[in-house]
Subunit: 311 residues, 2 copies
């Protein structure tokens, strides 16, 4: 459709409102997103895409804010995606900070956007991948993707970036470290934030021990201390990201990772597609209702539906 | 196959080793799981399935342990599934506690099993759903599913239960509360553990305020204090679970929820199925490689693969 082609054009010329509209479109999984990404994809791929993850309270937003400012000082433009878990209870509050933060940026070289899980069937990852393409095609030099580092969904999200920063803070304790289990192995840089706090040396040592225990690491993540709230150590963080990027480029890992990202995206889209098709070949709710009455097992139901999709 | 039919028979007669083998089979997503669940599904549905979730450090394992003992005192049998995030870094350590715990149970009326995300394409939810069926068909009266309450995957896991207990502790602070965002709305009972700690009243009040703010709640979750490590308040927890159960039964919510669980399972199996079929109609890795060279966008690739599945 012409409308989407026009929107894609406006995105490419970096118009803030077009970028925002395009992201809403992929976030809501609107059918037009296919054409939109089709138009934009070949213009994407130039941006540096960085994931910032870690437990709540680690100071990720503050770090992202400081990184963005430091990059702006180098005349680089920055797109920020903050991935928020939503809830009827707390959704508003979580997004609130970001909305306030956005108001601080009158600088058109920074674009900031919160994205929320809306219980969409495909989860958050496909929408985030698409949003990265949009910011990339819009010409942002760096894209910072901030997410709470827990759960498969979040792991999928940070898998769609070139370098992953895992943010810790001293004193969160072993319990909290455990939460990062699923995400540890994909960290490229460990950032210990709030490094003016007691216990920072222990946290660094813990990370070193963990790294020493890990075998088969292709890349040994750097460990960087910072105090994001005071802007201390931000250059060191950027340097560590740069070191990873250089290694990833030279080793061919960057290319491999981007191919893995593509595979992950294709898989997620296939999953979206199969659910949509299932609802087309049969009314899924009615099908479940009738299968429930017959006490059919889920494998039997799924196989029957899949056969109808294939036939 | 006869072998699976025999295994199903042994599961139904409650043989511990058969139950363990059957769970390994679904955990590894072995092709035979289809037949196995086909044999067991119609014998499942009698157990009380309870989810216990909350942030790390909330004392979930201790609570589960105490609940199991209390149920055993009532001569009820208990199956426990502990869902662990795995990682090359910390996976072993996390599972370690549970392995030690298992040794404590010489009582054949308790079965305990850790399940781990293995990066399986379908995620953890399908394996957990199948494992619940297995324990249910094996005749366990209660099934306790323990999981760290974060991420879509975990939300999917606890959606497969009849009642969800969300465990909090005093003093974790707002940051940690935020992590539970995605899971808050599916809690049926709020348990405030470590209630001998300072700040317990504030935690309870915070929960009350949150509940008061939530509109459109069909069920107002009870808030129960306990000190699991000393076995205090365990009966109150069971009473709150009972109250929810009774309401869920009478209101018809239990039936509706179980139908929703069935739908979720079918959807997850369709997703598993489409990825397997994609790999059959084309070698997915090779397909991605060639699409990458041509700079095809993910939607185009997914559509092409899906068309081949359908034709």
């Amino acid at each position: 459709m012409q409308e989407i082609a026009t929107l894609a054009e406006k995105v490419r010329s970096g118009q803030t409102r077009a970028v925002a509209r395009a992201i809403s479109l992929v976030e809501n999984r609107h059918p037009d997103r296919r054409q939109l990404i089709g138009e934009l994809y070949r213009h994407a791929g130039g941006a540096r895409v960085i994931g910032i993850t870690g437990p709540p309270g680690a100071g990720k937003s503050t770090l992202v804010d400081r990184l963005a400012r430091a990059l702006r000082e180098r005349n680089l433009t920055v797109g920020i995606l903050a991935i928020d878990p939503t809830s009827p209870f707390s959704g508003g509050a979580l997004l609130g900070d970001r909305v306030r933060m956005q108001k601080l940026y009158t600088d058109s070289g920074i674009f900031i956007r919160s994205m929320a899980t809306r219980g969409a069937m495909g989860g958050l990852a496909p929408a985030t991948h698409d949003a990265i393409d949009i910011l990339d095609a819009a010409g942002f030099d760096w894209i910072l993707v901030e997410t709470v580092g827990v759960g498969q969904d979040e792991v999928d999200v940070v898998r769609s970036v070139d370098s992953v920063l895992l943010v810790s803070v001293p004193g969160l304790g072993d319990d909290i470290q455990a939460i990062k289990a699923g995400i540890m192995e994909i960290a490229d840089v460990f950032v210990v934030n709030k490094a003016d706090r007691q216990g920072v040396d222990r946290t660094v040592r813990d990370l070193e021990v963990m790294l020493a225990m890990a075998t088969d690491l292709e890349w040994t993540p750097g460990i960087v201390k910072c105090v994001a709230s005071r802007g201390e150590g931000i250059e060191d963080v950027l340097e560590a990201v740069e070191a990873h990027r250089q290694w990833a480029n030279e080793s061919g890992i960057l290319g491999r990772r981007r191919k893995e990202q593509l595979r992950l995206r294709v898989e997620n889209l296939l999953k979206e597609q199969v659910l949509r098709r299932a609802d087309e070949v049969c009314n899924l709710n009615r099908e479940i209702e009738s299968a429930w009455e017959q006490r059919l097992d889920p494998y039997e139901i799924a196989t029957r539906i899949f056969e109808r999709i294939e036939s």
